[in-house]
């Protein structure tokens, strides 16, 4: 199938089989490899991107159905609302160890903060309920989200 996708505010021309997921197209066709393969069942969140500003599992979206929607990947996070603050907070709070869950976590964070700029820790926990991390134990990630929120830094 031939179609155009808008990713990080660039227009890309795609020629790919109908069965390609958005994750397949991002990585294999567009070489945007920041978004990760992992479970491919919509359980781990490593493939999380934004579709019209909301977090989705790109492994469960057929790429051809994302036409006409605004796709944001980790490569576009620096230009997104809360992006720079969140990424700085991840560094400040040691919220990444192996880094594999990190793009997905950051995208879930951008989705949350766009809808709720002052989340409680419980709301943050709920927002990352679809993102697994095997390294950090989540605490530093939650603190990083809190730092990036409008409520601002902690002591």
């Amino acid at each position: 199938m031939n179609y155009d996708l808008s990713v990080n505010r660039h227009r890309y021309q795609v020629d790919a089989p109908a069965s390609y997921s958005l994750l397949d197209v991002l990585r294999e066709v567009l070489a945007l490899v920041g978004t990760k393969y992992n479970c491919e069942q919509g359980e781990c969140g490593a493939c999380t991107v934004l579709l019209n500003g909301r977090a989705v599992n790109s492994c469960l979206v057929l790429a051809a159905t994302a036409v006409g929607k605004e796709i944001t990947t980790i490569e576009g996070a620096a230009e997104s609302p809360f992006g720079p603050e969140l990424m700085e907070a991840f560094t400040d709070r040691d919220a990444a160890q192996c880094g594999y869950c990190t793009p997905g976590m950051v995208m879930s964070g951008l989705s949350l903060l766009r809808d709720n700029p002052t989340p409680s820790r419980d709301e943050i926990r709920r927002a990352i309920g679809g993102n697994y991390c095997r390294c950090t134990g989540y605490f530093s990630i939650i603190t990083a989200f809190e730092q990036a929120s409008v409520k601002g830094g902690l002591k």
């Binding site: 199938m1 089989p17 109908a18 069965s19 390609y20 997921s21 994750l23 397949d24 294999e28 393969y37 491919e40 069942q41 919509g42 359980e43 969140g45 999380t48 579709l51 909301r54 977090a55 989705v56 599992n57 492994c59 469960l60 979206v61 057929l62 051809a64 159905t65 879930s108 989705s111 949350l112 926990r125 709920r126 927002a127 309920g129 679809g130 993102n131 697994y132």
Partner: protein, 303 residues
């Protein structure tokens, strides 16, 4: 060890993107066994990838006008097929009148799943441990089913007939689900226990609605399909809603459910979890009744 790529890229199908409900009817009628409907896709794509199904055509509802959204009518609410769980959560009327449906939608999968998955798709996937069907059961929902031969209405209690089986015939699809208007004073809850608070199905879950001395209860994870518990309802009503006789209610519950032992727990464990969910769902519903009817003494006139 050779890792087999799970990517969808290794499957092949035609993606049809019809522009009207009639076109959907025709495509499904042309190939009823090999064409599958794509609403949100969060169940369909997992099944294709896992080789549970191998459709030749996937029919995307995303371009069909009139399938997305909630319509409020005098006598109820219509939720169209392509309405995501996220969209449902944002509709004020749903939150006011059908709170159990919001509770259920918020426990499905994860935020990422809820942003894409549809209520109708979740119902049609018909997992015996699904969350939204029990909310639809307590509200006496009806499904509008379409096919090339015409359309028909099926009440929720007739919709789920077994594990992963609905009453849909090949070539049929659900265009909308309709909820009758509730009494203003009605309150409801859905509550479940899963293995984690993240992505999982229910070990057991209970939806409960109360209004004017009437209680409605449905349970998931405890039978081949999500089930309305009419026996438990009558035992509850017989004992009075204000101070439930939990001994006889729990006995009735154990007569009416029969969970299988599986990866989520044993028969015995699930029975215990269902009883806990029932108590908690009842308590939460009573609290919500009190909030909805604050002028009455203790809000318990509704009980």
């Amino acid at each position: 060890m050779v890792l087999t790529p799970l990517s969808l890229a290794s499957h092949s199908f035609v993606l049809a993107q019809p522009c009207s409900p009639e076109e959907v009817d025709k495509i499904l009628a042309a190939d009823p066994l090999e064409a599958k409907v794509l609403a949100g896709g969060t169940d369909l794509l997992v099944q294709i990838r896992g080789n549970a199904i191998a459709p030749e055509t996937v029919v995307d509802l995303g371009q069909v006008p009139g399938l997305d959204g909630v319509v409020e009518l005098q006598d109820g609410l219509v939720i169209n097929a392509a309405t995501t769980l996220r969209k449902l959560e944002e509709e004020a009327t749903v939150g006011t009148r059908y709170q159990a449906l919001i509770d259920a939608g918020r426990t499905v999968g994860s935020p990422q799943i809820q942003n894409v998955a549809t209520l109708v798709g979740n119902a049609c996937n018909a997992s015996p441990a699904a969350d939204t069907p029990v909310a639809l059961l307590i509200f006496d929902a009806t499904f509008t089913i379409r096919g090339v031969a015409g359309s028909r209405q099926v009440v929720a209690t007739d919709f789920w007939i077994g594990p992963r089986r609905t009453c849909l015939q090949p070539g049929e699809w659900v265009a909308a689900v309709r909820l009758p208007r509730t009494a203003d004073a009605m309150a409801s809850s859905y509550l479940r226990v899963g293995r984690t608070r993240g992505v999982d199905l229910a070990i057991a879950g209970v939806a409960c609605a109360i209004t004017a001395g009437e209680i409605r209860i449905a349970c998931t994870g405890v039978a081949p399909a999500p089930k309305r518990l009419t026996h438990v309802e009558s035992v509850f009503a017989a004992g009075g809603l204000r101070e439930p006789d939990w001994r006889s209610i729990t006995a009735a519950l154990n007569e009416e459910i029969d969970p299988i032992t599986d990866i989520r727990g044993t028969n015995t464990y699930k029975r215990a979890v269902a009883a806990v969910c029932l108590k908690r769902a009842y308590a939460q519903t009573v609290t919500r009744i009190g909030r909805k009817n604050p002028n009455r003494q203790g809000g318990s006139d509704e009980l």
